[in-house]
Point group: C2
Chain length 247, copies 2
Amino acid sequence: MLLSDQAGQTAAAKIPRPATLRESVIEAIQELIVSGQLKPGQHLVESELAELLGVSRQPVREALQQLSGEGWVDLHPGQGAFVHVPTLEEADQLLAVRTLLETESARLAAGHAGEDGVKRLRALCARGIAAVQSDDVDAAVATNSELHALVTDLSGNKVLAELAAQVARRVRWYHTPVARQRGMASWDEHTSLIDAIEAGDEQRAAKIMRDHTEHTRASYMEQRENEPAEPAPKPVRRRRPRTPSAS
Amino acid sequence: MLLSDQAGQTAAAKIPRPATLRESVIEAIQELIVSGQLKPGQHLVESELAELLGVSRQPVREALQQLSGEGWVDLHPGQGAFVHVPTLEEADQLLAVRTLLETESARLAAGHAGEDGVKRLRALCARGIAAVQSDDVDAAVATNSELHALVTDLSGNKVLAELAAQVARRVRWYHTPVARQRGMASWDEHTSLIDAIEAGDEQRAAKIMRDHTEHTRASYMEQRENEPAEPAPKPVRRRRPRTPSAS
DNA sequence: TTTTAGTCGACTGCCTACAGCATACCGTCC
DNA sequence: GGACGGTATGCTGTAGGCAGTCGACTAAAA
């Protein structure tokens, strides 16, 4: 038996190589954005990020471009990169797209998922419920993402899964505040979703997923309604205040 | 009246700026791939492309990364970039996703599109039919893309439109051979689609679009069935034969 | 006081250079 | 004859540097 065949499981292979600097930078910047250290509309100066992360400008540039492709930052040619400002309208549209993609995923997953897949779903669901019960919002959100990602994987359509993952990453940005509000209800829905998938009932799985994501969407919109819109921080190139040399 | 308000039309603004080198390089490489000058699986050496296009490696690198994000090339860390090898399975999945996105777009467009939108659709449709009648396959494919893009735009969901555009760009790669086969039938379907959108009939618009994209998909799969798969050119780093210095 | 021209500063875009690494080739040992 | 280790090669990943360009600030004119 060849060594490469031994690992039938996907994740088993590949030692966690330090990867390229670019990928590390991408994750670091995403983290900075999600955590709010980089505010929407803020001008991202390459050299500053480079210094902050202890790398040169090149990996930062490449990271910013990739992040631009995924909708995290806006790239204005000749001006630089700005943290994307998520409008209410856009969030609504994004969540609508997520509903579309995940509903289809759930339908397909109900048709394709095997025993093993269902088992993994149940395990994730248990972890999520545990997280909610111990009030660990971050863990709950993370597990939620993992669960949804697994559903899209089980759909058997790799392209669909990849696209859904891309959308989900963006959704996650605004997802944290909602999670606290939705709490346990969300995980009950997950449980019935898994039941439907296990039963191979495509119709029901699709319907549950649609309702589920729509609940999240409604919850988010409701939440946002309350906080009045920020005073539209137009993306303008920040400028370091002129050094008051001698005065 | 402000000057910027004068141009109500979208395309009217923006002088065709020389754009960044990166964007030019992206388009150039896409063209090289679509035209077949760069074959699937081929190792893309940055320095060679740089020399070929008359630029330095930096813009080429950035272009390759963006193209990787859009599925044109595969980036193997530490090894370089390879032209993506489109498998039959992946094409099927990609077309399935396109069906999903465009069907939803058509449904929304039927609800949102105004008179002006319908008029523009009709204009594009006429152009496409003219292209088919004069046997200009390239123009027909281009117009087809424009028409579908316009439908997604008219859906009113920008996120959906952007995602559909991304998928459509990839689809277009394998679309040309199909277009010749489908010919006129495709444009008859477009016409009825526009009729449904004009009538505001969401159900019918969605159904027509679904059937339409599924026809394209079936046509493509049928076409591919005939040509036996290539002997799997595993993506290996090409190496220039050692210079037989003195012999 | 409002508009307009001019200047300065800083950042982006691109190029060049270097270090590390992965692969292919080749001789040697079992 | 086949497997293994050494060596060479050329590519990628990263760093640093320079010129072009955009925006902001200042001062002068209407």
